[in-house]
Amino acid sequence: MSSADIYRETILDYYRNPRNFGKMDNPDVDARDSNPLCGDEVEMQVRVGPGSTIEEIKFVGKGCAISVASASMLTELAKGKRLEWVKELSKDDVLRMLGNPELGPSRIKCALLGMKVLKSGVYGYLGAHYDDPDALGSTR
C-alpha cells in the first residue's frame, strides 16, 4: 500500500464538501492554528452544552485534502461527546478515523492538525495548557 491510497472517495468527498464548515456566533471555544511546515490552517469553534458536552462544532480552514477532510470528519465524530473525550483523543484515533492510511511524518501532521486545534481550544476552555507531544519535528 502506498501513501497515495489515502485519496479514496470519502476523503475527496470531505475535501470538496466539508461537513460542519463555517463559523458560529459567540462560541465557547475558538482556537486556530497553522502548520508552520506547510501553511495549512484550521480554526475550530465549539458551543459547550449541558454536562460539558460538545453541543455544536464548526470549523473553517484551508489546506490539503487530508487536513480538511480530517478536520471535518473530526467535527462529526466530536459532536455530542464530552469535553473529556477530546482530552483523551489520540493520534491513533484520528488515523483510525481516516482508515489507517500510510502517511509519512509530514503528512501525518496534516492529518492531526484538526485534532491539535480542537485539543488546544478545549484545554484552554478547561483552564489548562495543551502541550503538543508531536510538536518536535516529524519523527514520531
Binding site: S2, G39, G63
Partner: protein
C-alpha cells in the same frame, strides 16, 4: 567535453550515487533542486579525504595537519570567490544565504541604517531576504518598502524607480526567484540603486548554482549564496562583500578567530574576512564547496544554463498538455531560471506532491518560504519542479505522466 557541446546527462548522472536509489520501487526523479541539490561523488570524496587525511583546526596551528587544513580551507575560499568574480578577501564563509542576510542585518544594518530610513525589497523574495529586514526595520525604526510585480511575474520597474525616489539606504533583491524563476536584471537594479545612494544586497541562492555570475559586473555591494543548492555540502555558503564595506562594518558574532586581541574590558578585531568568521569554521564543508565549484567549472556554467533553459522550454511545452494545470511566472526561458511552479485544478499542492512521490517524482509543495509572493499570486501554495545538471527531458516526461495519474485520482 568542449564547452559548446550539450551537457552529457548520462555521464553526469553516473557521478551522483543517490540517483541509483529507488523510491516506492520507481526510479528517483529528483526535481526539488531549488530546495537542495544532490551531491556528486567528487564532493562526497572531498569530505572523506579531508577527514581521512588532513582534518585539523585551521589558522592558529603550527603542526603539519593544521597547515594543510588551513591551505585547503583558504584555497577553497579563493576558488569559490573566483567562481563569482570576487577577490578572496571579499568572501566570508557562512552557513548559507540566510546567515548571510542576517550578518548584513546585524553587522552593517544596525550600524548604517537609521531611524526613518527606507529599506526596499520586493514581494518575490524568499523569507530570508524579508524577515531580517523586518527585524532590522523594527530595531532601528526604518521603513520597509516592497516593490510589486507585473502580471507576468517580473519586477515592476516603475514601482522600483518610484521607490528609489525615497533615497533608500538599502535595496535587497533576489537575482532569481525560487518560485517563479524570474531572473532580475540585478546589474541595472544595482546601478540605479547606487545612483540613488543605496547599498545593495543581492540574494544569489538561485542564481550561482544555475548560471554564470560575476559580482564585479553586477556591481552589487553584497551578494549571498548557499553551497547546498550548488552540489555542495549542507552547512556552508558565502557572503561576498565590497572590501571597504566589510572593513567598515561591526563584527557579527564574537569569539575565537575574529579577534586580534582580547583584554578584559575590550577586544580588537581581525582583518576581513576573518572578522566575520567567529569560532571554529565549517572547515570540511568549505572544502566540499570548493569541490562543487570545481565540478561545476569543469562542466561550465554556460552549459549548465543552456541545459536548464532547454529543460524549461521542454517543460512548458509538455505541461501545457496537462488539463487543468496553471503555471506561475515568466514563460520566456531566457528570462527564467530552472524553476517551474504550477497547480493542478483544485488539487492541493501537498496532495499532488504525495501522489507524485508515489511515482518516484520528488517535487516541492508549499509556500516555498515566500508567503508574500503566495498572497500576491492568490494561492496558499504551489507545486514546484526545479532542475539541475542531472535532469533530463525523461524526468519531465515522468512528471507529466504522474500529473495525469493525479488528475485521474482526483477526478480533476
Amino acid at each position: 567535453m568542449l564547452k559548446s557541446e550539450a551537457l552529457d546527462v548520462q555521464k553526469v548522472r553516473s557521478d551522483f550515487p543517490i540517483l541509483l536509489r529507488k523510491v516506492h520501487g520507481k526510479r528517483l526523479v529528483y526535481l526539488d533542486n531549488a530546495a537542495t541539490t544532490q551531491k556528486p561523488r567528487q564532493v562526497i570524496d572531498a569530505l572523506v579525504d579531508y577527514y581521512s587525511r588532513i582534518n585539523s583546526n585551521v589558522h592558529r596551528s603550527v603542526h603539519t595537519l593544521g597547515e594543510e587544513a588551513t591551505a585547503a580551507y583558504e584555497g577553497s575560499r579563493e576558488k569559490v570567490a573566483r567562481f563569482v568574480g570576487a577577490g578572496p578577501r571579499e568572501l566570508v564563509f557562512v552557513r548559507g544565504t540566510t546567515e548571510a542576510s542576517n550578518l548584513v542585518r546585524f553587522a552593517w544594518g544596525e550600524k548604517f541604517v537609521r531611524k526613518g530610513d527606507t529599506v526596499v525589497t520586493t514581494i518575490m523574495e524568499h523569507h530570508s531576504n524579508i524577515v531580517p529586514w523586518q527585524l532590522l526595520a523594527r530595531r532601528v525604526g526604518a521603513n520597509l518598502k516592497f516593490v510589486g510585480l507585473l502580471r507576468d511575474g517580473t519586477l515592476d520597474l516603475d514601482e522600483f524607480d518610484a521607490a528609489l525616489k525615497e533615497a533608500p539606504s538599502l535595496v535587497a533583491v533576489t537575482h532569481c526567484s525560487n518560485v517563479l524563476g524570474t531572473i532580475n536584471d540585478v546589474r541595472s537594479i544595482c546601478s540605479k540603486a547606487r545612483t540613488a545612494g543605496a547599498t545593495t544586497f543581492v540574494d544569489g541562492a538561485q542564481a550561482v548554482p544555475h548560471m554564470p555570475v560575476n559580482v564585479a559586473e553586477i556591481g552589487c555591494d553584497f551578494y549571498a549564496f548557499s553551497g547546498h543548492k550548488m552540489l555542495g555540502p549542507t552547512g556552508i555558503g558565502a557572503l561576498v562583500g565590497r572590501k571597504d564595506l566589510l572593513a567598515a562594518m561591526e563584527p557579527f558574532q564574537g569569539g575565537g578567530e575574529m579577534i586580534r586581541e582580547v583584554f578584559l574590558d575590550h577586544a580588537t578585531w581581525n582583518d576581513v574576512p576573518y572578522k566575520f568568521e567567529a569560532g571554529t569554521v565549517n572547515i570540511a564543508d568549505s572544502i566540499g564547496l570548493g569541490a562543487a565549484v570545481d565540478y561545476l567549472t569543469a562542466i561550465g556554467m554556460d552549459r549548465v544554463r543552456s541545459h536548464e533553459m532547454r529543460l524549461v522550454k521542454y517543460s512548458l511545452e509538455t505541461l501545457a498538455g496537462v488539463k487543468g494545470l496553471t503555471h506561475f511566472g515568466p514563460t520566456d526561458p531566457s528570462r527564467k531560471g530552472g524553476v517551474i511552479s504550477f497547480n493542478l485544478a483544485d488539487v492541493h499542492p501537498h496532495d499532488l506532491a504525495t501522489i507524485l512521490d508515489d511515482d518516484g517524482v520528488a517535487v516541492r509543495a508549499g509556500h516555498h518560504c515566500a508567503q508574500p509572493l503566495m498572497n500576491w499570486l492568490g494561492v496558499a501554495a504551489t507545486c514546484r519542479a526545479s532542475f539541475h545538471v542531472y535532469n533530463s527531458t525523461d524526468d519531465v516526461d515522468a512528471l507529466k505522466s504522474s500529473l495525469e495519474r493525479a488528475r485521474g485520482i482526483f477526478r480533476a
